[in-house]
Amino acid sequence: MSLSNPNSHTQTAPNDRNGVTQSAPVSSFQSLLSAEVIAPVVVGIVMLVIWEVGVRVTNTPPYLLPGPILVVQTLIRDWGELFPSLIITLQITIVAFMAAVVSGLLIAILFTQSKWIERSFFPYAVILQTTPIVAIAPLIILWTRQVISGESSTFVSLVICAWIVAFFPILSNTTLGLNSADHNLINLFQLYKASRWQTLLYLRLPSAMPYFLGGLRISGGLALIGAVVAEFVAGTGGTRSGLAYQILISSFNLQIPRMFAALLLTTVLGIIIFVILTLLSDFLLRNWHESAIKREN
């Protein structure tokens, strides 16, 4: 073009970008010291102090409400038993979550290949989702025991329960995402005679990415909840027992501080899962998704 470049700032754009990428780690480190982080930490500490002081002043017995210091002491003392339980719950959660991700993604892709498949099967996915897991967990445990005998039976049935809970957000979000590709881009792909496979790979899957990752974050927490709930139902059977078993058995034995310690571990696990998935999703969407980007205005 003979005309001078109307967007002369074009030339400086790459430099701007480098500036942004370089400053990103700095700003995330600074955010650790920002008011957003400090405020809830202060609130938390104040609450813990009130709790501890309240328990001491009122002389509340530990079997009703242990103070936070006692809970931490118990956590350290019983770490040898609690930690293996934590690992088992974590294993159930991870396996169920992985299964939910893979199956949710594959079934969502299957759904978008044919409206009829989606119409025929989606209602059943909804039914699976709306049935309370507590209600069907005993059945699943029973049936799994028929198929798989021995040690791993409980583990498998708990994974199945957690999977049922975790699977739906991935399926429904990804299905929505795969169908939400920009209309004009779909036309463009059609115009250039893109194959079904190309359209899926280059258009539908990337379009579904933010939806899928949203589902992932919900699903990670649900997998943990599913694992804990199912373990409550499974009760004390089996030797490989997770955090829910520790909570259950501690409450039977009125070891309330230990129950709190197990509860604390469950909560921390949930938070860690959420944080990891949020970081993962921010990382994957860093280039294009608005919610993951702090706009510079």
Partner: protein, 270 residues
């Protein structure tokens, strides 16, 4: 200019599945190397005309003929919104049509660079769409259309969402490119001034059902300078077309018969 038809629409009708009659017996010929604007009120079927030409969706009846050496494969579409992939850089967005044709990135590199240079976006290859202004996004969209070396360009209100200054800058850039590349262009717009400034011919359409009601040849030489925008001739054309448009709004507006259609209706509109 000798007139060789590049695209001929003959009695094209389109009824959408919900019963909307978008086009009824529409006749239109776009000459080889012409820049023809389609102008009309919202909902009169301008986009539908382009979609039919591009083969996006079936016509209800009628047919489309392609002139010598042309077919749908030599065609590119520019949408109203830039329609870029937000997860891909400028370079990757421009590469897309070639990627879909199975051409490797390496083999496509020079074509991609050339297309980006044509729209003056050198230096922004690695930017993501969110980092670009509206006008720059539109340039990327045009580069993506040009990368396959098309002979026919279909543009659906490409500059509709842009501010007046960006629009007129892109208008003159487009004329510049067109002058060099000799594309056949069907250009949809609802902006009279843009239509007159750009086109060899302005085809005015009316709604319900979509049809051609006027066909105005703009007999002003190219290259058209900024002075053309203020000339009496330009204003006269704008006046003619805006009268035809207000005519289009009245329900009794006649449909143009094929014999009249290719004639210069400059006088009959007045």
């Amino acid at each position: 200019m000798t007139f060789t038809p590049a695209i001929t629409l003959s009695d094209v009708s389109k009824i959408y599945s919900n019963g909307t009659v978008a086009l009824k017996d529409l006749n239109l010929t776009v000459g080889e190397g012409q820049l023809v604007s389609l102008l009309g009120p919202s909902g009169c079927g301008k986009s539908t005309v382009l979609r039919m030409i591009a083969g996006l969706g079936k016509m209800t009846s009628g047919s489309i003929y392609w002139g010598n050496g042309h077919d749908q494969r030599k065609l590119a579409f520019v949408f109203q919104e830039a329609a870029l992939m937000p997860w891909a850089t400028v370079q990757e967005n421009v590469y897309l049509p070639l990627k879909l044709a199975g051409i490797t990135k390496r083999a496509a590199a020079s074509s991609v660079a050339e297309a980006i240079e044509l729209v003056d976006l050198q230096g922004s290859e690695r930017c993501y769409p969110r980092e670009l202004s509206g006008g720059m996004k539109m340039r990327v969209s045009i580069a993506r259309a040009l990368v396959t070396h098309p002979e026919v360009l279909l543009m659906d209100e490409p500059f509709g969402a842009l501010d007046e200054m960006t629009r007129s800058r892109l208008n003159s850039d487009l004329l510049d490119l067109w002058n060099r590349m000799h594309w056949t262009i069907a250009f949809v717009t609802h902006n009279i001034y843009e239509a007159v400034y750009l086109s060899n011919r302005v085809v005015v359409m009316a709604a319900r059902p979509g049809r051609v009601i006027a066909d105005v040849v703009i007999e002003a030489p190219y290259p058209r300078t900024e002075e053309f925008r203020t000339s009496p001739l330009y204003n006269e054309y704008c006046r003619q077309i805006s009268m035809a448009l207000s005519h289009a709004a009245s329900p009794q507006a006649p449909s143009l018969t094929p014999s009249e259609e290719s004639a210069d209706l400059f006088d009959s509109v007045a």
